[in-house]
Subunit: 225 residues, 2 copies
DNA sequence: CACCTTTTGACAGTTACTCTCATTTCATGG
DNA sequence: CCATGAAATGAGAGTAACTGTCAAAAGGTG
């Protein structure tokens, strides 16, 4: 998911260096590292994000201006906007949709999509948790408390929804733009996002993995009421 | 729904005058109209909205500034913001959640909620359509094309979701804050919103009522894939 | 008509975000 | 090691969506 809900909980990493071209013939034995340029860019990105998280924790979201963030990250405001299109994106942007898509495709094609999601999300929750539980919590809290952040998060849902459409379409042979495929996908996303909101609203007391499980159970059992 | 998706399609009316207190003992035979003050407020509200729709149709959403809207509606920018908290709200705000809630509660309590929604939404779509088809289309188009509007619309989904939770909770005896109730509701909302998006993206060629039907069919048939 | 309340407009200020341009910083081939 | 080109940065000006304040105007009431 591009950032929202459940995946929101998991991770915050920066994108992989995109496999540096390990030229076998030419270069030295050195693992063909990223150029200094790229390394610096990554550092800047991380610096901005870390500064943002810190400031928000200290003084809240609205009270934290981009100018402050820039100062804390030791860059100019211009640069902040070059790295992140909006303030909300600093908090939310991650690049997990592609990863999630890969993992979903790796599951057996005849497995019900709900079960595929169950496996993949469980793993994501576990990983995100052992790594940076605080970030998961901060994010979901902001999602519940700050309208702008919630909006941006909901926005990202539709991106993830498209991805889900593609996967489902491929499995079922239907079109990714099929009405049923699309509404089905968004129903899943909507439910899972709500599970994350529930988690945050209940002060993260439950185990997110369990909430996801229960949500998927509900979905696969079919709606009642 | 506070504004989003399917309900987006339906209506745009202004809120009912809130049943003027027809004091049977006191006042004159006059139907106890709204005071001049209230009538003026309504007129201003309508003027702002109409001006906004017109300007957006003429020059697009982003190109239309609040200042222009104010001028066209013959009020000051301050007043515009007094009536609508954000620019997106001018386009989106309606007050149909309460109405929808009433109609849902009017359905037999033992009817599956999906069927209740089917009846209520079908009627809403029909009404909204005979009345102001253009507004329905403009809205859904903006929802698909303008990120800010889409965000605001998604935002309103959660409000509608809460309402749905209350209705479902009452019918089933569960708590409105129950995880399953909440995720179930948001799955419904997510699916229906996506149906509206589908409608707009396909240039409103399909019949919205049919799309809603198919979506609800899919939901009640249970997920597959 | 006088008095009080609500609504309005004028205005100043904040902040997110955009654009442009000059400067600096890295990469690369000679 | 340096010259040249490309990319990243910073500075600064500008826009537009809001927010808050205060005084003037309009509506309601005795």
């Amino acid at each position: 998911m591009s950032d929202n809900d459940v995946m929101t909980a998991a991770r915050t990493k920066t994108p992989e260096p995109a496999a540096a071209p390990t030229d076998p013939a030419a270069g030295p034995a050195v693992p063909a590292r990223m150029g200094l340029r790229e390394r610096k860019k990554l550092k800047t990105r991380v610096a901005i994000r870390d500064a943002t998280y810190r400031l928000i924790r200290e003084q809240g979201y609205e009270a934290t201006t981009v100018e402050q963030i820039a100062e804390a990250a030791e860059v100019s405001p211009s640069t902040v906007f070059r790295y992140f299109p909006t303030k909300e994106d600093i908090v939310l942007t991650d690049e997990y949709d592609p990863l999630l898509e890969v993992e979903l495709r790796a599951r057996p094609a005849d497995e019900p999509i709900v079960e595929s999601l169950r496996h993949v999300l469980r793993r994501a929750v576990r990983l995100g948790f052992t790594e940076e539980p605080e970030v998961s919590r901060l994010r979901t809290t902001l999602m519940v408390e700050v309208p702008a952040v919630r909006s941006r998060m909901l926005e990202s849902m539709s991106v993830t929804g498209r991805m889900l459409c593609r996967v489902i379409a491929e499995r079922t042979g239907r079109d990714a733009d099929d009405l049923e495929v699309r509404t089905f996908s968004m129903a899943l996303i909507g439910a899972l996002t709500e599970a994350s909101a529930y988690w945050a609203e209940h002060d993260h007391e439950d185990d997110l993995g369990d909430l996801v499980d229960r949500t998927l159970d509900m979905l696969s059992a079919g709606f009642r009421a």
